[in-house]
Symmetry: C2
Subunit: 136 residues, 2 copies
DNA sequence: ATACGTTTTTGAAATCGTTACAAAATTAAT
DNA sequence: ATTAATTTTGTAACGATTTCAAAAACGTAT
């Protein structure tokens, strides 16, 4: 999986440092849409000198190079997704869990004199089955 | 327009205090998707004792009672919309301006064992004509 | 290999939107 | 008019993110 991480970095013109590989690999193997804190807490054991600033820097770099996606579905904290193929997301309003959804087709080619669209995101919110079972 | 503001409050079971009426009226007459700061700066002239905390409290209250909509299209700051009829939004990545869009139909009745959807939002991003003219 | 310049990482401090809290002011009820 | 409940206010706290400059790691040319 390390190879895939390096490939993803290199193919997006990002130099593969040890920290960048770790973070990229983390996102490729964890499909949980983690936050900066989650990534930091999970990686710092194996990489004791890791800094949270490096996580911020790296995620921003990866996102700017379209190697990952930044999700803004959660008002409080950014979440990150290593799966860049188009898809949508659902967030549970009770527990905060984010679940992948099949792509809802969105017409991005709307013509207008007022603007040009180059991104469209669909965010769903509701309650996941676990939270519903607990009647939250 | 003050009457419309009071009506909107009362019909959503919110007591119409002077501050709440002002804020509600502001959102009904300004279709600019303002932030807390914008609302505060525009209203404090007429209401010198107004507190920014009151704006925060009131907007949260209005949103919880579905009298207004909170937009999370802007990662940095919440924007608010007094138009509650279903529609989508476009944000210019250069100047931050938010523009109303016709509703893109989104299927909220997707059946799943994993969750129940009760909200869906579509956010578009790109560049507005003004910023494109300035080749930003 | 070594020295030099560039890139990357790091940790501390600053920033900024938002929330918590408790006191003051206003409004409603008896 | 008193008392209780609600609303507003200002200050302080909070937490995610950014800034910044120094330290470390890396790449390259000699």
């Amino acid at each position: 999986m390390t190879k895939e991480a390096i490939d993803r970095l290199v193919s997006h013109n990002i130099r593969p440092s040890a920290q960048r590989i770790s973070i990229m690999e983390y996102l490729l193997t964890h499909r949980t849409h983690p936050t900066v804190d989650t990534i930091y807490n999970d990686l710092v054991c194996k990489m004791p000198t890791l800094s949270k600033t490096t996580i911020y820097n790296t995620l921003k770099l990866l996102e700017e190079h379209d190697a990952i996606i930044e999700l803004t579905i959660d008002k409080k904290t950014a979440h990150y997704d290593g799966m860049t193929a188009p898809h949508s997301h659902f967030m549970c309003k009770s527990c905060g869990k984010i679940i992948d959804m099949p792509l809802q087709k969105v017409d991005q080619n709307q013509t207008s004199h007022d603007f040009t669209i180059d991104e469209a995101e669909v965010y769903y919110k509701g309650y996941c089955c676990d939270c519903m079972a607990k009647r939250c």
